[in-house]
């Protein structure tokens, strides 16, 4: 056994042990399992929220984008900062409402605000359709990282099966507490790994950062700026705004908000998280270094750039440590996704069909769904072909469609009807499917438009369809609240 393999297995066992231990002293009701009994302080909530940023996408995709596309990768650094400044105002409102009504899922929030279980079912279906491909993405990344770092000794299939079984184990036992505890280990490792290699590689190969960037610019002119067409500034700005919009619409993020003990946690996080996110910078450095040191990876293979340059530059121990950090970037978000998906199906679909079900039964159903969902994800990971890629592309746009209905529900009084929210979401989702399946872009939809319009992110089209349909139906089915209006007038 190589040192690399030893380190990976060691960290893996430690993570699972932490995940299982996290349960100690807690009886697992649904509220405890899904949202940690709403008792998490600043540190745990920070870890959960920060844990969500550093997924396998950031680790492999962030370096892969810098490697393959150059400057367009910088968008990853922007959307988080914007989403966090919005979170300062948004999350306390969500938290307060969820707290008083003891909500456990994102769909619950819509059910309570719009007083419609049907809307809850719609949101639940959207959530699951976005979450399962996202879990598959994590497992795929995990398979790649572990098999690369082990030098091929562990095949992708073995890595995916083993980790999935362990994941199911600690998720069923400890719920979101397990995610928080493993998150702590993950954040330490990812910080050390990303900063370590991001600082070392440019100095080692080029003697400094500026020297590295100058070499990149000489080898690939234009790689450090946005092109005039395609991934242009217009693309950049629209993509950042769209991604920031969808950020907190992810059901596992949203439910993560419920775990907090007080709303002040989010205000503090909004100050710290933008800085914390700068770690992505070091991931970019690694991608740029790999562009020159380990050239030749084309298309999707660019995602391997970080691992390739690490293998070329370090000894087996370091490769193992980085592989282990990568493994954790898949496990932690994976566990959050499983908990969220299990909770949503149990709470917002099963309980609608079986209204008499007790909390105990609902908790049991949620936890029993974890192995089922994992099995589906594992099969898709190992067998999935082109369909999967399409699903992945749709995931972020799927959850973004929840944004208009959510924003409109934040006021004290409900202004638009549940029917309009449902109509908007359904119309938006159908547009997303249509746009993705036909690989449409604004350029193909409006061939005569100026370049700046053509480069806009096509996701806005779905959001616009959603907003228009929502508005039309809202006007047609106006919420009648004569008493409230009368009260407002007399006051």
């Amino acid at each position: 056994m190589t040192p690399a393999l030893g380190v990976i297995i060691g960290v893996f066992v430690l993570a699972i042990a932490l995940g299982l231990m996290a349960r100690r002293g807690h009886v697992m009701s649904l509220e405890q399992w899904s949202v940690g009994g709403r008792g998490f302080g600043s540190v745990f909530v920070f870890l959960l929220m920060a844990g969500e940023i550093y997924t396998t996408f950031t680790f492999l995709g962030g370096s892969g984008w810098a490697y393959g596309k150059g400057a367009p990768a910088f968008y990853i650094l922007c959307y988080g900062a914007i989403a966090y400044s919005v979170s300062y105002f948004l999350l306390p409102i969500v938290w307060r409402y969820a707290q008083t009504r003891r909500l456990v899922s994102q769909a619950d929030f819509f059910v309570a605000k719009y007083e419609s279980k049907t809307l809850g079912v719609v949101v639940a279906l959207v959530s699951v359709a976005a979450l399962v491909p996202y879990l598959v993405l994590q497992l795929k990344g995990l398979g790649i990282i572990v098999s690369e770092a082990s030098g091929g000794v562990i095949t992708q299939a073995v890595a995916v099966w083993t980790s999935s079984i362990a994941l199911v184990g600690y998720v069923v036992v400890s719920g979101v507490r397990g995610s928080a505890w493993t998150s702590a280990l993950k954040d330490v490792m990812i910080l050390a790994a990303a900063v370590g290699i991001g600082v070392y590689l440019p100095l080692h190969y080029f003697g400094g950062y500026r020297a590295m960037f100058e070499a990149v610019e000489a080898a690939k002119p234009g790689a450090l700026t946005l092109p005039a067409a395609g991934m242009s500034p217009a693309w950049f700005i629209s993509t950042v705004l769209l991604t920031a919009t969808g950020f907190y619409m992810w059901p596992q993020f949203f439910a993560g908000v419920y775990t907090a003990r007080s709303e002040n946690v989010f205000r503090k996080n909004a100050v710290i998280l933008p800085l914390y996110q700068l770690v992505v910078l070091f991931v970019f450095f690694t991608g740029f270094a790999a562009m020159l040191v380990a050239p030749g990876l084309k298309g999707a293979a660019a995602d391997l750039s970080l691992l390739r340059i690490v293998e070329q530059s370090f000894g087996s121990w370091t490769v193992g440590a980085i592989g282990a950090a990568g493994l954790l970037t898949a496990l932690v978000p994976g566990s959050m996704i499983l908990i969220t998906a299990g909770t949503i199906i149990s709470q917002n679909i099963y309980r609608v069909m079986a209204p008499a079900a007790s909390d105990r039964t609902a908790s049991l159903v949620a936890r029993s769904l974890v192995p089922v969902l994992t099995l589906i994800a594992v099969i898709l990971t190992l067998r999935g072909g082109q369909t999967l890629v399409v699903l992945l592309l749709m995931g972020y746009n799927f959850v973004t469609q929840l944004f208009p209905a959510l924003i409109l529900s934040l006021g004290e009084r409900q202004r638009v009807s549940a029917a309009s929210a449902i109509a908007g979401i359904v119309a938006g989702e159908l547009t997303v499917v249509f746009l993705t399946v036909t690989s449409a872009s604004v350029a193909t939809l409006l061939p005569g438009a100026p370049q700046i319009v053509k480069d806009l992110n096509v996701g806005f089209v779905a959001l616009a369809v959603n907003a228009v349909v929502l508005t039309v139906v809202a006007v047609a089915t106006r919420v009648e609240a004569p008493v409230a209006t009368e009260l407002a007038r007399t006051r």
Binding site: Y84, S85, L224
Partner: protein, 78 residues
Amino acid sequence: MRRYRWLAAIPTLGMLGGVPFANRVHPYVLGLPFLLAWIVVWVVITSLVMALIYLLDSRRDAELAGAVATLSDDSRSP
């Protein structure tokens, strides 16, 4: 009114609004090409602005709590 909360919009406007103009390699700032440096600086400003709003909000909340306490004291006095 907490009008200072509008400060939170500045980083977003600055970061994204400046992208078309900051889209260049030179001059290098702290070893980073200009576009990347531009983004990094605005991420840091985001954090600073949110810290300022947090401080102002905390002070405001303390004042409000103080005012409420004084009011209830007044109502109790004969």
